[in-house]
Amino acid sequence: MNKMWTVARREFLSRLKTKGFIIGTVLAPVFLIGMTVLPQFFLFLKSDKIKQIAVIDQTGAILDSLTANLDDRNAAGQRVYNFTKHEAAAETLPALEKMLTAQIKNGELDGYIVIPADILTAGKAEYRAKSVTNFFENSRIESALSRTVRAWRFQQSGLNVEQVQQLVRRVGLRTNRISADGKEEADQGRTEGLVRIMVMFIYAAMLVYGQIVMRSVIEEKSSRVIESVVASIKPFHLMAGKIFGVGALGLTQYSLWAGVMGLLSRYGVKIGSLFARDSASNLSMPAVAPEILLFFILFFVLGYFLYAAIFAGLGALVNSDQEAQQLVFPVIMLVIIPFLCTFYIIENPNTQLSVILSLIPFFAPMTMFARIVVQTPPAWEIALGLALLIATVVGTIWLVGRIFRVGVLMYGKRPTLPEVMKWIRYA
């Protein structure tokens, strides 16, 4: 047993210190922070500059309400879009455009908008500028123009603008989740987001860390160091040590990320609001109920053990990473299929199909967990699913242990299925 921990410690420490792990662990939260904070930061940077925009208003009636509708202010409280009015008939338009284009070139102007006389019916305007790739800016101008034109259309039709706006008001659907004990909780779509993130975590743990275990076995096998190792430790303990060591690595990485996400949900929006006053982004995490967290850890660990053992067995069967790629595909499918199934299960947690999917041991780490979060199934179903899963984990580890014992010392030709069956019987 002590030796198993020696192996686990080596797996853990030697991987912890690799550049790949450090970069991956650090970059993921940096990326996450970047996604939250950067857009607001850039908005903040941009909005400081005042845009000089010429408006060629061929209707002669739109500019004032457009100015009112696009009242963005920068940090200093100044208008961001400064419009200057130009009028042009069809025949003078080309000359005017030429002049404005020249002004854009020498920097006096940032851009100009052409509002044709038939905008009410045709519904099209043009915006020309040096750079028209700022999606945010474009959509601000477009929506302000739309609102202006719409209001004008209502007026033309003899409708009261405010009345119409009252009438076409959207209906909000507030969602409330009824939990197992009958309590009502406000939800607002967060459960769905949460379960997706957690299932994603389980999915990644099984695939990513499972394959790290596999590569670790292949590495020892192809470098032949395995013979020295199994002369000192039982192959089964070696396998278990690897699985524990890499598992600890995964937990470390996830804990670090969870910590960063926790901090981010608490302070990220605040950081964002330093840059933009009306922060639209809201990344706050819903509070995770303790029993959900418990189930998460349980399914996370069981799922990892199941697939880490399978991947360890695969590693013992092959001689190189290339050979492994051919065998690994069916196992990856075994992980991807339940992941895709969870999309259906989240929408339909209680159909017969969902129940069956959640009881299949190889799927259960994701499918049963998803059901538990979305709509807690009857206790016996959870118990049955867990019992089947645990039995499968134990059976798989036993089976793979036997394959592993023989496989790690087999070099050369990859064994056929009948040969593997023989190993299981005689190991």
Binding site: T6, S14, S223, V225, E227, S228, A231, S232
Partner: protein
């Protein structure tokens, strides 16, 4: 009590018997040559001793206890022929890892490792990665991992392969030193010369079966003093169609000759002197090399 004892150990892979009914015993403080041609079953036997593979029948005892009982194998050091290392691991960490796999506690192995790397002249490479070492140095580190826990039994599979003469000497000295300590050393090789110099006793196996075993001097005596060693310079015509020669192994200017029973060695010398300059003439016991060839060919 023997340090290592195999009692009718048998292992088949499918219909092929890799090791058949093999029995042998290695006493403490002896170097035991485990010899045989490629594919004779040497590695399979060693793997069974190390409990890496399990025998179909028979018993393996180490210091009187079955090798399946806990911690027994912690008293064994094994240098496999397939020499792999953890390429990315630092030398020191690798040494510590294997010491701990042999059951040494962290505070127990520090001094031992310090002393060994000092003696092997490798104190300054401890922070390097294994892959940065030369093949020979990697092999020295691996050899270290087989002796660091002061085992009662050391199994060495071709320990000198790939070593330069200086390092081969170093390893040989350590082996002899371990022998003095009372360690039993099983030395598997097909290089008969190094086996001949080092071994007290041997076991020769072929096709999974033991064909010969015992103390080296007894075995040689059994083969009789009808061998002649000649070092010559000139033509080797005297070897051909010579009625008193049963067979010979000619290396160009050095030949080992087995005479027919009753033949006079002096007659051979006389014949040889007519064709070549003789610088050495010795009536000897057969070398292990000859015994090996004679036995395996039969």
């Amino acid at each position: 009590m023997h340090t290592l004892q195999l009692d009718r150990v048998h292992k088949s892979f499918g219909s092929l018997a890799a090791v058949s009914e093999l029995s042998l015993a290695v006493a403490p403080g002896t170097i035991y040559g485990f010899l045989g041609p490629n594919g004779a079953g040497k590695t399979t036997t060693i793997r069974m001793i190390m409990e890496i593979i399990l025998p179909d029948r028979g018993q393996i005892l180490i210091n009187g206890a079955p090798n399946t009982s806990p911690a027994v194998l912690d008293r064994v050091g094994y240098l496999p022929e397939e020499r792999g290392v953890y390429r990315k691991m630092k030398v020191r960490e690798a040494l510590e890892f294997f010491a701990e796999l042999k059951g040494l506690k962290k505070n127990a192995h520090k001094k031992k490792i310090d002393a060994w790397v000092e003696r092997f002249g490798m104190a300054d490479v401890q922070t390097k990665k294994m892959e940065e070492l030369s093949k020979g140095n990697q092999q020295k580190i691996q050899f270290l991992t087989t002796v660091i826990h002061e085992p009662a039994l050391i199994i060495l599979d071709e320990p000198f392969m790939g070593l330069d003469p200086v390092n081969a000497e170093l390893i040989k000295d350590v082996i002899l030193e371990q022998k003095q300590r009372g360690t039993a050393i099983v030395f598997s090789t097909h290089l008969m010369e190094s086996a001949e110099k080092l071994c007290d006793a041997i076991c020769l196996i072929n096709k999974g079966r033991k064909v010969l075993d015992g103390e080296v001097k007894d075995i040689k005596r059994g083969f009789g003093r009808n061998h002649v060693i000649l070092a010559y310079d000139g033509k080797s015509d005297f070897l051909k169609n010579n009625g008193i020669i049963e067979n010979y192994n000619d290396s160009g200017n050095y030949v080992e000759i087995k005479l027919r029973p009753g033949a006079k060695p002096q007659a051979l010398l006389a014949a040889a002197m007519q064709h070549a300059e003789i610088s050495r003439f010795e009536i000897a016991e057969p070398s292990l090399h000859e015994i090996f060839l004679a036995t395996v060919k039969e």
